[in-house]
Structure formats: C-alpha cells, structure tokens
C-alpha cells in the first residue's frame, strides 16, 4: 500500500474512462470508494517516488509524498465530497466523470506532494480539470477568464518556485524549509514567496486575485457550484495552509501586505455579498470572505481550527450551493426575490439549509460556533484584537445578509414556486446538517484532535 495509489489510480482510471465512456461513471465511484478505503490503511510518513536510495536517504532528493493527519483529513474530505457530488449529479452530468477523476488525481496530488515542482504540475492538472468542470456552466467566456487568470497564477507560482530553486538548490519542501531557516535571511525570499502566494491566492479565491469567481460561481449549477466552492476551495485552503504554516515566512512588509489583503478580503467579501441580490452571488462572496478568514488564521498560526473551518465551510457551501443551484435551475432565476418561498414546500431542505447557514454565520448549537469561538480565543491569546474586531464586524454584515436570505426563502411572495429535491439530495443535506449540529453541541472530539494534528505539524517542521 502506497500513498502514490491515491494519485495514480484516479489518473489511470481517467485514461481508461476516455476509452470507454460507459464505464466511466462507475469507475469514478469505484475509484472514489477505493481512495477513501485506502486512506484507512495508509500510514503516516514520507513516500519516495523515483530517485535512488542514497540520495533519498541522505538529501531527500527526488520526488516524495508526505502523508500526515493534516493531509489525511483533507484527502478524506476531498474524495468524499467529490464522490457525493458526483453521485448527486449522476444522471445529469455523467459525461464529467473522467474530468472528475482527473480533478481527483490532481487534488490528491496537490495535497500529498512534498515537491514544489511536482506541486506545480498537480496545480495545473487540477486547474485544467477545474476549467473543464466549469465549462458545464455553458458560459465559455467566464471559463476562459478563469483559465487565463489561473494560468497567470500558476505561472507566477512556477516563477517563485524556480527562484527558490535557484537560491537553495532544492525542490523538496522539507529541505527547503530547513535551508531557509538556516539562512535566516528573510528579506531575499520575499519575491518568491510573494509570487507563490499570489499563485496560490488565485486558486484559493483570495481577494484581489479572484475576479474569476464571480463569473464561474455566479452561473454555477449543481455540479460546478459544490465542486468549485466546496471541493476546490477546501483543497486550495488546505494547500495554502500547508504553505503558509510550513514554507512561507511572513515578516515585515510582506506580513503587513498579506494581513491587510486578507482583512480586506474578509470585509470586502461580506460587504459585496451584502450588496448582492442574487443568491449565488451572496454565497460566492461569502465564500471569498471565509477563504480569507482561513488564510488569516493560518498566517497567525491558528492551524487546527482553521482546518475545521475549512471542513465546515466545504460541507456548508456544498449544501448551500446544491440547494440554491437546484432551485435556480428549476425556477430559472437566482434573484433572491424570485426564490421567495422556496422552502414552503421543502421544509426539510429549508431546515437543513437554515442549520447550515447558521453554522456558517457561527451561531451556537452548530459547529460553526464552536470553531469560530475557538479560533477567536486563540487569536485573542496572541493579542490580535484588531483582527478579531475585523472578523466580527464582517460577521455582523454576514449575519444580516444571510438572515435576509433565509427569511426570504422561508416566506412566500406573491407567487408560489415549486422546486423538487430528490431523496439523495435530501439525504446528503440531512447528514451534513446533522454532522454540524452534532459537532456543534458535542465539541469534545474536536478539541481532542487538536493535539494530534499539532504533533504531526511538528514532525513536518522538524523534517
């Protein structure tokens, strides 16, 4: 058993699926399940691919994969979500199964790889998969814009990687971290770090680099919405977290710029959502704000709760986009006025949507509250009162527009609308809402896991 299988099998399946379109969907199901099961049997640690023994053992040359608890959680989430989302869209978007396999391979690679260039490759693979997925929106210009911005981003990332390589002569992250720490000259790594941060920021929807989001998610459907806002956002946040906590050293003006950008992202995201009337726009802007919060937490070293926040967000956004996009498809408009009274005949869906939204807003009895309170506590512990204030002020705005949305969706306007959700949708909604509810009321497991993850990060830090 080898972590490489997590990447190779989906990739292989993707190739096979091109040959036979018929088995492709089933292949995806099998591979997804396989990956999830496989994760149970894999052990933590480094996996080397290629290279030769001496080099591997002494200098960590060659490509290696790193599987730790952090990556494992991310992988479970990603693979599981892809599987679920695909199951829900099994009938309508069958043709996308090979692309989803590709995306699975790329994202798994992103989360596992320990090699910077390899990372770039996976970034591009997953990026190409993402572009293809968004083509399901039937808005080619938006997709094209996504492609161009994504290409610029990955180019910048590659640029940064190459500069780092030129400076330290290695592409292995662990070695590079040690080298950077040994040199201690942070001023000269500002350029590569900036470039890499921007490159990742494009994919992770951080503020000034995310112009593509509106076009892509603003016209999303039940496949692309959850995939981009849920799966991709989560994966990129995880990756960003790994880079920020392990590799990047934010100091001086870089730290200021990054913090300002992220704080701006939080505020601007929520303010933009406040000014939107289209439901999908509200959701996408809110996810921008959430992504910025996550990044901000990583920058401030609040890791474990950021991880939970990513997971909670991915699950919540999946549900929200599924609900809204299905309704939009049936109604033909995503204006919140047009969707008035959506839940009148869909009480269960309404309930789950409400619970999930409350979790995103960080209200008690739901997981979002526990997470929010804990990361704020940790921020307070390191004296970041200003950041707390920013996050909380943004959360006020967020609360207002979400409540406005929920109330609108619960109470009918002049005309009744009918949207039917089938049982599989409902089942997913219920499971996710229940999960949020359970972890919101019984948060001990979350706090317990706290320590374990931190130790793994220690391992990474120490090489």
């Amino acid at each position: 058993m080898n972590a490489v299988l997590l990447i190779v099998i989906p990739l292989l399946a993707a190739f096979i699926s091109i040959v036979s379109k018929k088995i492709a969907p089933y292949l995806l199901l099998v591979v997804g399940l396989f990956n999830i099961v496989l994760l149970f049997f894999l052990e933590n640690g480094l996996v080397f691919i290629g290279g030769f023994d001496v080099a591997m053992n002494s200098d960590l040359l060659g490509i290696s994969l790193l599987l730790d608890t952090y990556a494992r959680m991310a992988l479970w989430l990603i693979n599981g979500l892809i599987l679920v989302i695909f199951c829900l869209n099994f009938k309508s978007y069958k043709a996308f199964s090979s692309i989803l396999l590709l995306a699975m391979a790329g994202l798994n690679g992103l989360l596992l790889t320990n090699d910077l260039f390899n990372f770039f490759v996976f970034l591009e693979i997953s990026g190409i998969a993402a572009y293809l997925i968004t083509s399901a929106n039937k808005k080619p210009v938006s997709t094209f814009r996504y492609l161009v911005i994504g290409a610029i981003g990955s180019s910048l990332f590659l640029f940064g990687v190459v500069v780092l390589y030129a400076m330290y002569g290695t592409l292995n992250m662990i070695v590079m971290i040690q080298a950077i720490q040994a040199s201690g000259n942070y001023a000269e790594v500002i350029l590569p770090f900036t470039l890499m941060f921007i490159g990742l920021g494009v994919e992770a929807k951080l503020l000034p680099f995310n112009a593509w989001v509106k076009g892509v998610l603003g016209h999303s459907n039940t496949l692309t919405g959850p995939m981009i806002a849920g799966v991709y956002a989560a994966a990129m946040s995880f990756v960003l977290g790994r880079f920020i906590t392990n590799l990047f050293v934010f100091e001086g003006s870089l730290l200021i710029v990054v913090t300002v950008l992220l704080a701006l992202g939080i505020l601007a995201g929520d303010v933009m959502a406040f000014s939107s009337t289209k439901t999908r726009e509200i959701l996408l802007f809110s996810s921008i704000a959430q992504a910025s919060i996550v990044a901000l937490l990583f920058v401030n070293g609040v890791i474990i709760w950021a991880v939970y926040l990513i997971i909670a967000n991915a699950l919540s956004k999946t549900v929200m986009f599924l609900v809204i996009n299905k309704a939009t498809k049936d109604v033909g408009s995503d204006e919140s006025e047009a969707l008035r009274g959506l839940f009148v005949n869909n009480k269960l869906v309404g309930l789950t949507f409400t619970l999930v939204t409350l979790s995103v807003m960080g209200l008690p009895l739901l997981a979002g509250f526990v997470i929010k309170l804990n990361f704020l506590t940790q921020l307070a512990g390191i004296g970041q009162i200003v950041l707390i204030a920013i996050i909380l002020v943004a959360s006020v705005i967020e609360g207002i527009y979400f409540v406005r949305l929920i109330v609108k969706l619960w109470y009918p306007g002049e005309s009744e609308i009918s949207v039917k959700y089938n049982y599989s949708f409902k089942a997913v909604f219920i499971v996710i809402a229940l999960a949020l509810l359970v972890f919101g009321t019984y948060s001990t497991p979350l706090t317990k896991l706290d320590n374990t993850i931190d130790t793994v990060m220690e391992v990474v830090n120490n090489g």
Partner: protein
C-alpha cells in the same frame, strides 16, 4: 543576461494580458509569458565552464562543475503543461467564437 531577456519576455506577456481584449491575443500573450518563464528556468540551470556530464556517479567529485540538469527536465514538463493549457484555451476560444461570433471580449454580452 539571458535572465533579463526572459524576464522582459515575461513582462511583455503580462502587458499583453493587461491591454488586450481579444481572446486569441490573450492566448498568445499567455504563451509569450510562459516562454519567458521557460527560458528563465533554463537559464538558472546553466553553469558556465562545465565539462562533465550531469550524472551522479558513485564517487563524489565535489569539485566538478556541470550544468544543472534538473531545470531542463522541469522545463520539458512546463512546456507540456503550457501546451495543454493553450490547447484548452483554444478550445474555449472556439466555443466562444461559435457562441458569440467574435473574439473581442468587449463585444460579448455574457452577463458575468
């Protein structure tokens, strides 16, 4: 020296993306940018005065100078990826043209 040239190329690509509104021109700019980047990668691997094949032998000859082979390998991959991206972009360009009958982004009326 060649590094400066490659960075200039990269900047030209960025500039092209900055000013052009035409789908095809953008793809071309993207390619220019990528080429600049690729040249930059190659250039950092070059070590002047090298005389030995870049193969690690069992004897550790530390004094020997050789051109770093890794960037060349990287660049190959980067080119491949670049080609893939370009192909995809062109495919989208085709779709765009089919839908809107134009390549000018300004002339399209897609609500985004």
């Amino acid at each position: 020296m060649i590094q400066y040239a490659s960075i200039i190329l990269f900047v030209i690509g960025i500039y092209g993306l900055f000013v052009s509104k035409n789908v095809i021109k953008m793809i071309v700019s993207l390619n220019i940018m990528e080429i600049g980047l690729n040249i930059f990668i190659i250039s950092i691997g070059f070590v002047g005065g090298g005389a030995i094949a870049p193969i690690i032998s069992s004897t550790q000859d530390l004094g020997l100078i050789f051109v770093d082979p890794l960037p060349q390998a990287l660049v190959l991959t980067a080119i491949v990826i670049g080609v893939g991206t370009t192909a995809l972009a062109l495919a989208f360009a085709k779709t765009i043209y089919k839908t809107y009958n134009t390549f000018e982004l300004d002339e399209m009326e897609e609500s985004a």
